[in-house]
Amino acid sequence: MMVDTLHQLLPGFLIPHFDWLMQLGQDTFGGIWPGMVTLVWTVIKIMLIVAPLLLCVAYTTYAERKIIGAIQVRVGPNRVGPWGLIQPLADGLKVLLKEVVVPANADKAVFLLAPLFAFAPALVAWAVIPFNEFLVLANVNASLLFIMAVTSVSVYGIILAGWSPNSKYAFLGSMRAAAQMISYEVAMGLSLVVVLMVSNSLNLVEIVKVQSQGRFADMGLTFLSWNWLPLLPMFVVYIISIFAECNRAPFDLAEGESEIVGYHVEYSGMSFAVFQLAEYSAMLMGCTLISLLFLGGWSSPVGFLPDSILWLFIKIFAVLTLFFWVRATFPRYRYDQVMRLGWKVLIPVCMIWLAVVACWMLSPWNIWK
C-alpha cells in the first residue's frame, strides 16, 4: 500500500532510488521486510495525525482565551506576537522550564505515569477517526466500539493522579472526578446505542454515509437528515455527556479552582501541563465525535455544495465554540446535582428514546431504510 501511494506522490527522479531502497531492504531482511514497511508507513501516518493535532490543541487554548475574552468584553492574550498568536508556544516553553515537584511520600513511578494515562487515550482514539470517506488511519468495522473502549481508559489517569501523591485532597478530588466520568459514560453509551440502531453499523464512515441519505437529502436539504434532528434528545444527552466526560464547565468540578481542589493539585510544571493537554485533546475528540455522529461529518449541509473535509473542520470548530460559550456563560454545577443529572435525568431519557426509536424503526414510518 505504501509503495503504491509513494509511487504516486514522489517526484519522478526519486522513484528509481526508492525502488532500489525497497529491493535492498527485501534482500537484507527477507520475509520480515513487508511487515517492517507496514510498520514504518503506519508510524508516518500516525505522525501525520498527531503533529497537527497537538498544534490544534495548542491553538485551542488560544482560541478559548480569545473567544471567552470577546464574550466577556476583554481583549484576551495580545502581547506575545501579532494578536498574541505566539502565546501558546510561550506557555508551552514556560511549563517546560518549570520544575516537576514530586511529593516526598509519592509513589514516584505511578505519579509520573498518571498524566500519560490521561493523555494517551485521547490520542489513540484518533486512529479510527475518518476525516473523509478515504482519509482514515484504520477503517475498522467496530470503530465506535473502539473509541468507547479507548476513552474509558482515560479514567485511570485521574484515579492514579489522585492516589499516587499520597495526598488526601488529591485523592478525594480524583474520587469525585472518576465517579463523574463513570456515571456519564453510561448515558453516553446509551445515546450511542440509538445512533448505532439507526445507522445499522459500528463503522464511523458508514454512520456518516447513512446520515447523508433520506427524504430531506433528496430535496437538497441534507442538514435536516443528519442525526441531530430525528435523534434530538440523544444529541442533547450526548453533548452534555461529552461536557461531563471532558471535565469542562459547567461540570469542571475535577478542577474547580475557586472552591474545591481537584485530582491534580500535587502536579506542577510539565506533568500538570500534560493533564491540560489531555483535557483539550479529549475536548477536540468529543467535538469531532459530535460532528461525525450527529452533524453529518464531512457531508455538506445543502445539496448544491460538494462534500468536503472542510465541512468537518467547520463543524468541529462550531461545536468547540459551543464549549467555550458554555464555559463563559454557565456557573459550575454542585457535585450532587451533577450526579443527579447523570443518573436520574439523562439515563432515563436515553432509555425512553431508545424504546421510542426501536418502535419507530419497526413502524411503517421508519425513515432509516
Binding site: I32, V140, N141, A142, F146, A149, I159, W163
Partner: protein, 200 residues
C-alpha cells in the same frame, strides 16, 4: 519469521511478564496496574486471532470498568501486607489444587489441538466480515434465552447491591431538588423594617 509471529511473541512476552508481576508484586495498586497491562496484551493477541469484538470488549469491560472498581477497592482498603502473608502455608494446598486444575484444563485444550483431536486452526475470514455483527446475531437468535437469563442474573446483582447499601435507614442529609426549585426568596430571607435609633 513472519511479522505476525513476531507480534505474537512480543505481546505474549509482555503478557507473561505482566501476569507474573501481578502475583509477585507486594504493592496491590502496582499489581492491579500490571493486570491492566496483561489485559491489554491479551486483547492484542485476540486481535491477531481476528476476534476484534472480544478484544475491544475486554478493554471496555475489564479495563474500563472492572479494574477501575478493583483499583477503588484496593486504594480505599488499608491492606496490611504482613497479615496477608500469614496464611500462606495453610492456603497453599488449596491454591495448588486450583493451579493444577487450571494447568489440566489448558493442557486439554492446547494438547487436544496439538494432537489433532480438536480443530485447532483459526478459520481465516474475508476482510469485510464483521465480527460484531456475527456475535450479535448469534446472541439474539440462537442464544437468546441464555443471554436473557444472564441479564436477569445481572439485574438481581444490581438490586442486591442497592438493597445492601440501603440496609440500615440512616438519617442522611439528602436534598430534594424538586422542593429546592420552588423556593422563593421570601422563604429564606426576611426583610425587617426597623425604626432608626435616636441619639439621645
Amino acid at each position: 519469521m513472519e511479522f505476525r509471529t513476531f507480534v505474537f511473541y512480543f505481546l505474549s512476552a509482555i503478557l507473561v511478564f505482566a501476569a507474573l508481576r501481578v502475583v509477585t508484586l507486594r504493592n496491590p495498586v502496582h499489581a492491579a496496574l500490571h493486570l491492566v497491562l496483561a489485559f491489554f496484551s491479551a486483547s492484542g493477541i485476540w486481535i491477531l486471532l481476528q476476534a476484534e469484538f472480544l478484544a475491544i470488549a475486554l478493554i471496555l469491560v475489564y479495563v474500563g470498568a472492572v479494574m477501575v472498581l478493583f483499583l477503588f477497592v484496593v486504594m480505599l482498603l488499608d491492606i496490611n501486607l504482613d497479615r496477608l502473608r500469614e496464611g500462606f502455608w495453610s492456603y497453599l494446598p488449596l491454591g495448588a489444587i486450583v493451579a493444577l486444575l487450571i494447568v489440566a484444563e489448558m493442557g486439554l485444550v492446547l494438547g487436544g489441538m496439538y494432537w489433532g483431536i480438536l480443530e485447532g486452526d483459526v478459520p481465516q475470514v474475508e476482510a469485510g466480515f464483521s465480527n460484531v455483527q456475527a456475535v450479535g446475531r448469534l446472541l439474539f437468535t440462537e442464544y437468546v434465552y441464555p443471554f436473557e437469563l444472564a441479564s436477569v442474573v445481572l439485574l438481581v446483582g444490581i438490586v442486591a447491591a442497592t438493597a445492601l447499601t440501603l440496609r440500615d435507614k440512616r438519617k442522611s442529609k439528602s436534598l430534594s431538588p424538586s422542593e429546592q426549585v420552588f423556593v422563593k426568596a421570601k422563604d429564606r430571607v426576611r426583610v425587617l423594617q426597623m425604626p432608626a435609633e435616636k441619639n439621645d
